[in-house]
Each structure stands twice: as C-alpha cells, then as structure tokens.
Subunit: 261 residues, 2 copies
C-alpha cells in the first residue's frame, strides 16, 4: 500500500474532528450563467462538491477557507456559511446503487484501509459554505483522489453524490433570499464590466428578467459604480460604457442591506 496515502489518511483521522465536514459551493459567473466548481473522483463518474474536514486546531471558518484555497488558489474571497445538514439518513438519499459504488471507490482509492473507510463512512454532519469567486482569477486544481476539478454551468449539473444536489439547491435559495446583503456583483464580475453584465448576473441569481432601462437607472442612482471609457469593440451596435465598483460604497450599502429589487 502507498505509504504516503496511508500516512495522509492516518493524519486526517488523527488531526481532524470526527463526524464533521465542510462542503463548499464555489460559485463563479461566465457566459451569462452561474457556474459551480465540482470535483470528479478518479476513474469513476462520481461528481461532488469540494469538501473536507475540520482540523482539531482550526476554526470551522478557517477550514472552509483552507478548502477553498486548495481548490481555487484564492484566499481573499467572499465566503460564508449558509446551512448545516444533519439528517441521519443524508448519506443515503441517493440510490443504494450509488452508495455501493462510493464504498467500492473508497476501498479502491484507499487500498482497503478499513480503519479509514470506517472513519470516513461514519455518520457525518456537514456545514455548507458558499464562496463567490472571479472565475478568471481562479486556478482549479484536483488532487490525487480526483482527476477533474471543473466549472460546471448551473443549468448543466451532473448528478452528485450523497445530498450534494440538495446542498446546492439550498445554497441557491439562500443566495436569492439574501441577495440584498451579498456582494454578488463585486465578487463575481471582473474588474471592469458593462451594465448588461451586471444585469444578467442579477437575473441569473434571481431567476427572473429585469427591465433594462429601469435597472440601469436604479443602479446608477445607488452610486457605487465608477464609469469608465466606452468599450470600443463588441457587437454591431452602440458601444456600452465600462464600469467598476467603488468598493467602499458598495460594501457600505450591502452591509446595510439596500433593497435592490
């Protein structure tokens, strides 16, 4: 058996809290769509949220930041807890078939290390965190257990293991309800963007169309955008302005919870 792997799993069992995990819904935005960073386990068509365990000497929030940074290379990112999933049957919400595949995969990847298999298949309570990330600044990296770490469009999610689809659904509900308190735009858009970009982003989160001209007027009136030069190329039409955020003003409004929509 791979010595490094065995040491690695022994380290986890030794250093981490048993029965508690973290799952991260890492959100980005591109092509007018929300995207989620997902991992695929080696040689299996099993996708999951990036997650991990809480070290005995770190805060839960720190653990979430560590997991996020490990997968995206980013460390100063908007990251927050949204819900803790503590159903006794949560590991069994998908088919018994899938449950069996997961167990077999764990055995194969961990070379039948029964002590670790037992540890990792005990009942877990997992806390869901969501991160808002600029896709272009991220550098997705899998590890030796995963052969893929990819951005997947919200409209084209694969079936995920355990209750990870429900975790995402809950996260998106949370996002919509809390939208007036979250720095959606600042976190998900690149430095400079058009008004249309911002509108499409809010539409993607709210899942409803917004009136273009009223959106523009409302946002400009809130006064957290800097207007820059015109974008010189694009489609066969009038060129839009580029904007960037006045972070201080935006944060102030968001903290207060301005009624955007």
């Amino acid at each position: 058996m791979d010595k490094t792997l065995k040491e690695f799993t022994a380290g986890i069992m030794e250093d981490c809290l048993p029965g508690n995990s973290i799952d991260c819904v890492i959100l980005g935005y591109a092509d007018q769509e929300l995207k989620i960073l997902l991992l695929k386990w080696k040689d299996e068509n099993l996708w999951c949220l990036p997650g991990g365990f809480i070290r005995k000497d770190e805060d839960m929030d720190e653990a979430a930041h560590r997991i996020l940074e490990m997968r995206t290379g980013l460390h100063t990112v908007y990251l927050n807890q949204f819900h803790t999933f503590g159903s006794e049957q949560r590991s069994k919400v998908n088919s018994a078939m899938q449950h069996q595949r997961i167990t077999q995969m764990l055995k194969r990847l961990h070379d039948d290390d029964s002590r670790f298999i037992e540890w990792v298949t005990q009942r877990f309570i997992t806390t869901g965190y969501f991160a808002l990330v600029d896709i272009k600044k991220s550098d997705p990296s899998p590890d030796f257990l995963c052969d893929k770490c990819e951005w997947k469009a919200l409209s084209d999610l694969p079936e995920l293991i355990i209750d990870h689809n429900q975790i995402i659904a809950k996260c998106l509900d949370h996002l919509r309800i809390q939208i007036n308190y979250l720095p959606i735009g600042l976190s998900l858009l690149p430095e400079k963007f058009t008004m249309k970009d911002l509108q499409k982003l809010y539409e993607a989160v709210l899942r409803k169309p917004l009136d273009r001209s009223n959106f523009q007027r409302k946002i400009l009136k809130l006064g957290f955008l800097n207007r820059h030069e015109k974008q010189m190329r694009g489609g066969a039409h009038k060129a839009p302005f580029l904007y960037s955020f006045n972070q201080a003003k935006y944060d102030e409004l968001i903290a207060f919870g301005i009624d955007f929509f």
Copy 2:
C-alpha cells in the same frame, strides 16, 4: 455516586454524537418585549441557553425539536436553524474565571465522573436553532441539573456561559434580516390580538418605530387578518378591534417573502 445520574451520562456518551451540540434560542413575546427562555445551573449563578446533544439515530432537526419540547412542553412550533458556531476557542470566549467555575460545577454536579467531564468538555461545534413560541402556551421546566428555567426579557439578559450571548446576538440579527420570511406574528402572538400588539412586536424585532396609521393600512391591505368584535375593556379610550390570523394566507405570503417593511 448517584446510580441514575451515572447511567444517564453513560447513556449520553453512548447514544449521542461526540463534539456536536444544539443550542436553542427560544423566543416569546410579552409586555411589548421579546423574551428568551434561559436555564440556570443548580446552586450557581450560571445561565445558559437550553441545549443538548444529537442522538446517533436522530436527525439534527429532530434533536432540536426534542430539546425544545423538553423545555417548553410544545411540539408544534416554528423552529429553524440559523447558524453553526465552530470557532476552536468558542468555549473560552468568556473569562478564564468563568471557565474554571463551569468545570468545577460540572465536577460537582456529575460527582467527579471524569470520563463524562472529559466527554463534555471536549471541543464542541454547536448549531443554533431559534423557536418562536406563544409564551402563554409554554410550560417551562428545568431538570435535575438546573434549578431555574425562566423567560428573560431581551433588555435584561444576564451574562451567559461560553458564547451564548453571541449566539443570541447572531439569532436576533438573523431574525431582523429574515423578517419577511418568518411567521413572527402568527407564532409569537396569542390567538386574538390588537393591531397595536402586532405593531409593537414588529417594532421589537426591527428595533425601530413604525408609523401607526401606515402600519395599519399596510397590514390590512395584505389581507391575512380576520377582524373580530371590539375589545370591550382596556384603557380610557376608543376600544380597538381584535384580530386573528388567516393562517393559510399568512403562510402563503411568508413563504413567498412579502416585503412588509
């Protein structure tokens, strides 16, 4: 040593998840103020939130309901999770002095059962739940470890153990932000109430005054109140109408998240 107590603690260690707990912020409303149900440990001036552990065979939500019912006698009550507290140092946020008192008290109450003391003083991650309760229907009950279980006004809270004051603060923030999605009125008021009662309740949660006549018009327009006969006695003034909720309509609006304020 008390055989029953020893069996009780052995049962907890045997049947509950280690390192995970639940704390309930049980809210009621009376005398135009929000109240919280608190416990006081035997022979000590140490107050805390009603809490408990999660049995290995129950959902976390079930555990919260069990704890709530144990303290209030109520089982059909609005109860929801609001945050999970996972700071590594959370048990040490209060003074070292208090930490020592807690340990001593545990030793005394549990007759130096060192195995249980170790179990109960390990690092815990706790999930905060909040309940909205009609005080008049509740029947607060302490247990053999607590000599008091009382409703305390929000404006007159004692210092609580560990991070319980922060847990309450977080809960109240949550309440304010989520107010449009929570059945505050239906859960906290008695069957029949006046418009003023409802207004004062919303004011207590929002911590800001609302215009009386505009409040009345807005609420009536939303259409979830049944108007009853005039209240025949009260102060030296015109008698107000009594109202009750049309639960179906109220729930519908709350689920949708109507913009009350």
